[in-house]
Symmetry: D2
Subunit: 348 residues, 4 copies
């Protein structure tokens, strides 16, 4: 049993950490911080945790938080980097759910996030926490940057094809759709029910912060390729609360059959506890990942032409954020990687 | 063809006025005011009006606005009362969609709305604009207070029973449910998609501003009764954008059959263009009023006991606000009452 | 560790039993029956269970099923009664989620369900499984009828007031709203997305099968009252998948304050693991019970008049069906009553 | 004023024809046929038409129907072809909303629709009814095949780029998402609320009937190209009732700027009454086309790379079906093309 802390526990990823960790047999959450709600009971703020969570919000104090063996940062971007050095110096193992340590190219980060990075040493030291790619590095890391939600679904979807060199890396398309919870717990007209319900739209087409993260990850996966990764990424806002479906398009270099492609995925992910490759002819849906840590993937080759279509579905708050963060913690702390996460989806 | 103005045209009732009036053959909207959006094209703010509305938002100036023959106030509460005197002095016919002139009891208004009423003379002069009750007074009024959304659905639902003295006036229950658009166009966490979707809850049970308005209206309808009106009103927030269903409960004094009750409603509303009494055994639904100005009503007498149940459905933005306001304008201006409003519901 | 079987495991309550029992440490599900899907993998039918449930559907054979220590019937009404005798003779402990054994008055059952009851001895022997009322009887029962979803929410909501004799039993109103999953997993135009989305309506007002069940339960609770229970019950269909909110209205005989009423509820339910009485001023919502076994209850006394309003929220598939069935099983089998059910709600 | 008939008026496109035509000043609907509902009032079947539509369903008899000047077929596929010859012989102008006359290649039609085409002469004679491409031919046609919903959104989206030869025709991608009403008014588990709500999934990836129709249309548009059209089309099912968004991807041959691309669209569609090209930086949404006949289009060129992204939004029941059919009728009958269709979207 280890003691863990959650910094910034009033957003949806914080709430989801509390929900999931409430059934983790090796973990006790002892700190949940919030500047605005300090002193208030967590279960007053999130009444769905009444009878489950008995914590009270604390002010975030690095020295206190650092007493935890493991710490989750569920803060907005450009917050974690400010207290990270102190926390690491105290020896805590940290999983940052924000974007602060995801991009290895600091100037690129500064361009997309519009501010100076105050802890570039942390960027260097940190590990990008996609377990299916970096499991070994995560085992010994002290600071792990949990991947973004869109990037998780896209990287897992392209992984076997890129690793095996079967597709053109310079002509990748990711058409993604996310539930509204991906934008966080916010009062914003554009996120209001009346504006999102019975609506659907593309956004951020001219440039979305998850693009450089995803391209960095795909480039790492495609390390044997001479050509550079070139991804066209179009996110859309779904009239749903949870979940991401990424529909991926790539051009095959050769002439693999659909059976061969499905086999490739089956083999690559056969030992992965949370990547589920569907049978030929099946495609995933949000309903079948909601509330669970699974990424489910289906593969098609329409009319046997030269395009491969991969559909990858996750719950943005679980495998796309808090579930994956717990998976990372399990790896860092030497627990069984599925501990506390072996949950069926909540359907219907 | 008359010229009309809309004061406060950036909210949902303003938008709905623009939508509905775009097909009104006797009306040209010449002013749409907004303090925050003055100078911006209306169709840039509401892209659904591209190709339909060519207006630009103006600053609200009473002298300018008053050049219109008819003016709609679609502002938040406690705004219209400030410029109403000037507007009326200019001779404009005004329909106020806010609550400023709904309650005849000024101290009661001040208690529920938490501020001083600056134009009590206007309250005295104004007519409460429920056409099914006050049609004659509306014809000659200069200032009409358009009823609230919940009060419209509840008053129309109880009307025949109260008028005819068949039910106990002191034991009325209105269980209402409204779509989220009823709360207006707002950035507020509690109105966000992630909080409202797959959710449902009662609110304002200890006291809602529409209660005194409704009780005032029911009291007027039940003018022959010696006992006072006593309404228990519980509003709920639906995971839907548009529409109100009010499920009304009353105790019958006598022993009328369901057939007799349905007949009573049929007769009372037979000449009403926008009240539709369903056949015995039928109940209304939101889908069948969405986008239209109809109030549809179904009546039941469960197990032939002593309770009558009336279900009343409207689109909160149409018969509950902007459609009813146009119906009022039609009456005030001597147009056919249905002009521009004879629209089917948008289903599915 | 006991072995359990689920008869009729292709509907939503069967799926929910599989979801919840997958994390129950004392239970192994060894049978899941379906006439139509026998031979098919459960996880092929419900892909959300891939990686979680490794069962294959079997033909329902009482002799086989009866080898289980505990058996859940998740079949439509009028199915369980046909094989119940054989099952009980084999000694299995049975929880029936259908209506077959809920009504003690067999002719009344036959009237509402439109067919002959083939096992009236089972009705006599069975216990009505509302733990908060019948816990002791459940402990020693062999056959328990799990309460319906609406009846659970209504009985728990009225319980303290009726038990204490504070309200008029002959003037009770239950205005309930349920998510569409309450109608089961069905292909039916009236349950289709296009018909239910952005829609809301009352149904079954002239008479709903849950009315006699609820009145029977309320009568038992109000055993000290001389007057008979008289409940007006109006169910509504919500544009949501899961959850029931029942808004209950009653007339107070005396003059209790809201504080006294909240205290009454607090005390009555203080030892109940799954009834959560909210603080004064708080009301429950679907979001805060979704996926969990809690019934959350809020109490109001509008404008301090003589009506009390109780709002009771449950997840219809959990506390309203499969979760409560597992709670019953825990009691019957001597497990901790919360075993496998101490789950936070899934929000947002 | 002409008399029109609707064959198969119990589905959503039939309902939408009735809704839209109720406000068309030149049209009186005199027939609405249904085999199953003959003799029943239309407004009993669709209560949202109470007070609006006073028709009774008739049996479909070609001789009777043919008395109408214009006839809409809103039947399932493979129905219209059976009575079309007789109808045309009577001289009626026919708009078929089904797929029977969309594909010019009869064997291809037979392959995708799985049955023999009984009226290939009709295919030859018919005009494909996309007004933005075939306006002149529609003017003199007797039989027009109204385009499918997805094909409308995709063809309009690619049109200026293909016509001008700026993109590679052999590498087109259409990622489309449709509301559930696109599947028709059906009782089908997969279309039920509980299965579609909070869900999202790709379907028909291995091959969808709208693919050959779309490729045929794109080929005609790209008539100057030597290379063949090759479209990868992936439809998705949205948790929304109405609307289609198609996100289109193509590779630019040259180096046009985004300004040049937006200008190209502006110019091509400047005289089109129902195609609305948004300003640079704007993207369309379902909300802004719901209930209206507009196709709204936004163009992007992400990071100024070689891919162009076009987002095209329509209401599948209006511009994607019944609205477009009325637009076609207006052209065929010599009315102003916008007559009865100049409607704002219904938002929110």
């Amino acid at each position: 049993m280890i003691q863990v802390g959650i910094v910034g526990a009033t957003g949806y990823t914080g709430l989801e950490l509390l929900r999931l960790l409430s059934n983790h047999p090796e973990v006790e959450v002892v700190y949940a911080t919030s500047r605005t709600e300090a002193g208030r009971k967590v279960a007053d703020f999130f009444p769905g945790l009444r009878g489950i969570c008995h914590l009270t919000y604390s002010e975030p104090k690095a020295a206190e938080v650092a007493k935890c063996e493991s710490v989750f940062y569920a803060t907005p971007h450009a917050v974690a980097m400010h207290s990270m050095k102190e926390l690491l110096d105290h020896g805590a193992k940290v999983i940052d759910l924000s974007a602060d340590f995801r991009l290895k190219d600091v100037p690129l980060w500064e361009k997309w996030y519009g501010c100076e990075h105050v802890f570039p040493e942390g960027v260097e030291q940190s590990v990008y926490g996609l377990p299916e790619v970096n499991r070994k590095k995560i085992q010994t890391a002290q600071l792990v940057a949990a991947p973004g939600c869109y990037p998780t679904s896209i990287q897992l979807g392209f992984l076997p094809l890129l690793e095996s060199g079967l597709i053109e890396p310079s002509d990748l398309i990711a058409n993604s759709a996310s539930g509204v919870s991906g934008a966080g717990r916010k009062g914003d007209v554009s996120l209001s029910f009346a504006e999102c319900n019975e609506n659907f739209k593309a956004y951020g087409v001219s440039g979305h912060r998850h693009l450089p993260e995803t391209e960095q990850g795909l480039q790492a996966i495609a390390s044997g390729e001479s050509e550079e990764i070139n991804l066209t990424f179009v996110p859309h806002l779904l009239p749903a609360t949870r979940g991401i479906v990424s529909t991926l398009y790539a051009t095959l270099k050769g002439n693999q059959t659909l059976d061969e492609l499905v086999n490739l995925y089956d083999e690559r992910f056969s030992n992965e506890p949370f990547v589920d490759v569907l049978s030929k002819g099946q495609l995933p849906s949000l309903q079948n990942v909601r509330g669970s840590n699974f990424c489910r993937i289906g593969i098609e080759k329409p009319l046997d032409r030269n395009k491969v279509v991969v559909v990858s579905a996750i719950d943005n708050l679980v495998k796309g954020a808090s579930g994956q963060a717990i998976q990372i913690m399990n790896i860092m702390c030497g627990f069984n990687e599925s501990k506390g996460l072996h949950l069926p989806s909540v359907a219907p």
